[in-house]
Amino acid sequence: MSKHISSLAPSVVVDTAAAHVAVTPMTGRISLRARGDLAAIGKAIGVSLPTQIGICAKTDGIEVVCLGPDEWTLLVPLDQIEKVQGALATLAPSLPHSMTEITGREITFQIEGPHAADLMSIGCPRDISTIKVGQARRTLFDGATVVLWRDAETSFRMDVWNSFAPFLASTLETGAKELAAELA
């Protein structure tokens, strides 16, 4: 448990024949809460906001996932955060909303490999097969709340609050080795 993980120092957590897990570099993140004229918000930030929970949208480097009836997480390149903030700010008077930067809150694990989905099943009580490629879910992994993005059949991203990262890295490491041992 002497692991320490920082998005400033991306590193490989584990690499086996079953799965490869790495910490990704820091990216900009914004938690957006709003109701009302969502189209106007979409227009301002350049990505229309999906309205079904778990559905994602992506344009020009900005990725958005709907996490609740009035909640979205935006992934924004670091150098575009101010632009997005500014665009949202102009809407504020007529369209009440909350925009909070959470760039520093999260650490992302990139999980890839032939058994990436199986690796998710060691800690996530959801049916992984119901997360379609291009979708995301706020769910649990080994006792911690995570947002799990499925980028391909065998590729996931797992966003987790940074304090949980060392514990989850240890779970992922154990699991990736265990799955690799099954292949042997």
Binding site: S6, R105, T174
Partner: protein, 996 residues
């Protein structure tokens, strides 16, 4: 070849001998053997001693239902497991096994004296024997019972194995891979469904493994099995062996334990010993088969007495003849085939004893052909032999009259009392059962789960019936899954169908009161114990069970429940359903703690949260403590320092110059929206509407009841944005409470909450030199008293990082909290640390933080409050906005008991003898009053490492605020301590030290 092994028989591999030890003696078995089959191949029946009477016992069964043959297994240091069933444990080269419950040896055991004194150990003997004298309970009885109780020896070393867990979703889960389960799988396979077939055994096949004579659709049973399993695998069915479905939970969740390494001679790397599967299946098929019932007669537990069906299994699956001259005693047709098969394998069956006066002609003819003597309408009344049966007493039955006994020599006695459908998992579903008078057993009726039960577990008998039933019954599940239900037809030749009758205790010509006729072998419960329980007033089977412990052993009554019920019902003169069946509970078979713990053991026991600065603390020899899920640096000892010394040094250094503290764990909630101020104002007791941007205010959060729930400093970042802090442990709770109010009480407010606890790393610097240390790193902003007074905040660049800089103090010194985006926390810390060397900067932990705040009388919610303390009790009436229209807890504060006089109030305590009080110690006003004394409060915080010249304490005392200067008393085990009631501020009451 060992003596009783039949060359070329069974599914064991004759080309692969395996050497293991039992009680230190090496034995050679074959790959595929269990410990039991390998020992039986050597003629070893004696495998253990019983629980209560220490009677010699052998394997009575061949599967997981075994109650007797419980052994210890060892694989080097730490890898010891007691109570493993010898009938399940597979052998491998080097496996060490030991018998249990014996001293000094299995063959000569001192504890067997209990057997001679059995009259003392009747049902309920604990309750009767150990009731008086009362004073004997603690010193004599309980230690004795604890020492005598239990089978085997608990492992004493840490288990070096690892355990795993996994979730699994599937369309169809089939439990049990006998004929019915396989037939069900066949109909489901290849239809685009995810299908899982599990079996607890090392091989699939169930009864087919023990009945190779049957021919299915023209193929021999084993060829059919091999082809069928290959086809299932080809069709994508997930086949799992050594996997036990241990429990059936709500909404079709099934717990399964897969044993991965217990059968392997060497342990593969990175492989857990067991894996718990948490399965969510849309549909479940239960095909767990049936378990054979023992017959109940005097001496039915002697080694060599075995279930007839299990003898068949040993013969056909393992190629082991369990006896050369066996006798068969039965009330069911099935055991006749055991006699025939053993005879065919070269044994000399001495007799088939059947309690029924009439038996099928073809069976009798077959026995005649084979030259086996047949005794119809006979009973067994005794067995002889010390550590192995060598004779059995057989008597003719004439109605209820039992004729004279005749002793028949034998080396094994194979019994069958018929078969009981295995309804354990079905019962877990809260499925209802229906009594079947013809079969004298319960059968499954309805279940609230999406679950189908098939084959022998619903009372069907024979391979063909099971195959057809599995094929048909799974159709219902397939239809629900939206695929076409198909049915395959099966023709089975040489199928062994049969019937029988159910017996209670076998009739005897001897005293039933002296008979040791066992019903529950593992808990040593006899038929007379059950009848005694009824005589002594037990009416429900639940009471009979608890009084006698029948069915309460680790085998969950697999063999004993139905016999116990039949006997109890007879004793009560009622029908079985009126007496009831005890509830089966998970797990189906004994399950290791490791399987339940999974990955959560050792340093992965529980979620541990670490700040981004934790690594620095670890490198600098911090001692950590858990605070909720967080681990926090408690103190930073220098070489040779105790905690008290380190804390005293950290306290003094912070008040003398500057201390640095990781406050990142503080809960943080960003409250944003046009109604942000209104929301914060309604939640907290303090007024917030007029708090200007750039200012901070302390906030007190109450529950509806008016009691303090949480506190923290709240900063107004802008008109519509607040940065709220909570206690470390309260972060999630406070956010939930706020969301609750927002969503249910005030959905009209335009405000949103976002947890930002982990967005920020928070570095606190405190001390007279704090501003001097920090100033050079703050860009274009002066840290002066005028420009940045106490309780201010500003968004500014600190050491090159975007920061929310606060001027607050939890120590009474000049204090700053620098919030930077979390990943920069450590770099900021190190920058300040390096620069702070000029000021002898000291890192301090939570312990010093506690002391310094107590010296200023700042409360810690949850330590100085306990959910029954109001702001007024805590001396914090100043924090309550009396002019506010409303806030959470406002009405609660007006309740009569909350405004009553003499409530417990927070005060300071200073001891007269300079001793440090114990936190939690009770307080009295008059130490000379008679015991029990009236307690008027307790010590909530107490420290002696601080910067005052005497220890300090905070305490809740009845009417404390009006007792200033009075003396109260704290009785301790060795003396009574006198303490003076004081205010709660011990350092700098004028707050002069807060000024820059």
């Amino acid at each position: 070849m060992s003596k009783h092994r039949l060359r070329g028989r069974g599914r064991v591999d004759a080309s692969q001998p395996v050497v293991f030890t039992f009680d230190g003696k090496p034995y050679t078995g074959l790959k595929g053997d269990t410990v039991a089959s390998a020992l039986l191949a050597h003629g070893v029946h004696l495998m253990g001693r019983s629980f209560k009477y220490h009677r010699p016992r052998g394997a009575i069964a061949a599967g997981s239902e075994e109650p007797n043959a419980l052994i210890g297994t060892r694989r080097g240091p730490g890898r010891f497991e007691p109570n493993t069933r010898a009938t399940v444990q597979e052998i491998w080269d080097g496996l060490e096994t030991n018998s249990q419950n014996k001293f000094p040896s299995l063959k000569w055991d001192v504890g067997a004296v209990n057997d001679a004194a059995y009259m003392l150990f009747s049902a309920g003997f604990y309750y009767k024997t150990f009731m008086w004298p009362r004073s004997f309970w603690d010193k004599v009885y309980e230690p004795f019972i604890r020492a005598a109780a239990g089978l085997g020896v608990s492992p004493s070393e840490e288990d070096p194995d690892t355990y795993a867990s996994r979730y699994l979703y599937c369309d169809l889960l089939i439990v049990g891979a006998g004929p019915a389960g396989i037939a069900a799988a066949r109909e489901a396979a290849g239809k685009g469904l995810s299908v899982v077939l599990v079996d607890e055994n090392s091989e699939m096949g169930g009864t087919l493994l023990s009945e190779p004579q049957s021919k299915i659709d023209g193929k021999s049973a084993w060829t059919w099995l091999e082809d069928e399993l290959a086809a299932l695998k080809e069709a994508g069915v997930k086949l799992m062996t050594r996997t036990t479905a241990i429990g059936y939970y709500h909404e079709n969740m099934i717990g399964m334990v897969e044993k991965l390494t217990d059968h392997l001679p060497t342990l593969p790397a990175d492989t857990p010993r067991e894996r718990m599967w948490r399965v969510r299946a849309k549909q479940v098929v239960l095909a767990q088969g049936a378990l054979e019932k023992p017959l109940v007669f005097h001496g039915n537990d002697r080694p060599g007495v075995m279930l007839a069906g299990s003898a068949q299994t040993y013969l056909h699956r393992y190629g082991v003849k369990v006896g050369e001259s066996p006798v068969v005693v039965t009330s069911h047709d099935s055991a006749w085939y055991a006699a025939f098969d053993l005879q065919a394998a070269g044994a000399y069956v001495q007799a088939i004893v059947d309690t029924r006066p009439q038996v099928r002609q073809d069976l009798q003819a077959e026995a005649r052909t084979r030259g086996i003597p047949v005794k119809l309408g006979h009973t067994v009344t005794a067995t002889g032999g010390r550590l192995r049966i060598n004779t059995v007493r057989v008597n003719p039955l004439n109605g209820t009259h039992v004729g004279n006994g005749q002793w028949i020599k034998c080396d094994a006695l194979l019994m069958s009392g018929g078969w009981t459908p295995s309804l354990h998992l079905f019962s877990h579903t809260k499925g209802s059962l229906i009594w079947d008078d013809d079969l004298t057993t319960f059968l499954p009726k309805d279940t609230p789960e999406d679950c189908i039960i098939t084959g022998a577990s619903r009372g069907l008998w024979g391979v063909e019936a099971a195959l057809k039933d599995g094929s048909v019954r799974v159709g219902e599940a397939l239809s629900k899954l939206g695929v076409e239900a198909t049915v395959s037809d099966y023709t089975v030749a040489d199928d062994r169908v049969g019937t029988g009758v159910t017996m209670r205790e076998l009739p005897t010509d001897r005293s039933a009161g002296k008979a040791k006729a066992f019903v529950d072998f593992q808990n040593d419960v006899t038929a007379k114990d059950l009848r005694l329980a009824v005589r002594e007033g037990m009416r429900s089977i639940e009471h009979v069970k608890r009084y006698t412990t029948n069915g309460m052993a680790t085998d969950q009554g697999k063999m004993s429940n139905i016999n116990g019920l039949n006997i109890a019902a007879d004793a009560l003169g009622k029908k079985q359903p009126q007496v009831g069946l005890t509830t089966f509970r998970p797990p189906y078979t004994p399950t290791t703690f490791g399987a339940f713990a999974g990955y959560h053991r050792g340093d992965h026991f529980e979620v541990v949260r670490k700040t981004q600065i934790d690594g620095w603390a670890e490198e600098n020899a911090a001692v950590f403590e858990p605070v909720g899920q967080w681990r926090r640096a408690r103190y930073f000892p220098k070489a040779g320092e105790t905690m008290d010394q380190a804390v005293a040094r950290e306290c003094a250094a912070t008040r003398a110059s500057v201390g640095i503290f990781d406050a990142s764990t503080l809960g943080k909630i960003e409250v944003v929206g046009p109604d942000a101020a209104e929301f914060v104002n309604r939640m907290y007791t303090n007024p917030f509407m007029k708090l200007a941007p750039g200012k901070c205010r302390y906030g007190l959060l109450l529950g509806d009841d008016g009691y303090i729930r949480d506190d923290g400093v709240i900063a107004r970042i802008s008109d519509e944005r607040f940065h709220v802090t909570t206690t470390t442990g309260g972060a999630a709770r406070v956010l939930t409470m706020m969301e609750d109010y927002l969503q249910t009480e005030w959905p009209d407010l335009n405000v949103w909450l976002t947890s930002t606890t982990e967005q920020w790393s928070t570095v606190a610097v405190n001390g007279p030199n704090a501003a001097k240390l920090l100033q050079p790193f703050v860009k274009d902003f002066a840290l002066t008293e005028d420009n940045f007074p106490h309780m201010s905040c500003v968004e500014v660049e600190v050491a090159g990082y975007p920061a929310r800089l606060w001027r607050v103090s939890f120590t009474g010194e000049i204090g700053f909290e620098i919030n930077v985006p979390a990943p920069y926390g450590r770099a900021l810390w190190e920058t300040l640390w390096d620069a702070g060397q000029a000021y002898d900067i000291t890192a301090y932990g939570t312990e010093t933080m506690h002391v310094l705040r107590a010296e200023k009388g700042y409360i810690i919610v949850g330590q100085d409050t306990d959910g029954t303390v109001t702001p007024y009790d805590a001396g914090m009436g100043w924090a309550v906005g009396t002019k506010k229209a409303d806030f959470v807890g406002m009405r609660g504060l007006k309740r009569p008991d909350l405004v009553a006089k003499n409530r417990k109030q927070l005060v300071g305590l200073v001891t007269e003898d300079q001793s440090c009080l114990e936190e939690g110690a009770q307080i009295v006003l008059d130490p000379n009053q008679p015991i029990p004394m009236k307690m008027v409060g307790h010590v909530t915080s107490s420290y002696h490492q601080g910067t005052t010249d005497h220890p300090i304490a905070l305490a809740l005392v009845e009417g404390g605020h009006s007792k200033m200067g009075e003396t109260v008393y704290i009785p301790m085990p060795d003396r009574t301590i006198a303490a003076k009631v004081t205010g709660t501020v011990f350092v700098d009451p004028e707050n002069a030290r807060l000024k820059i």
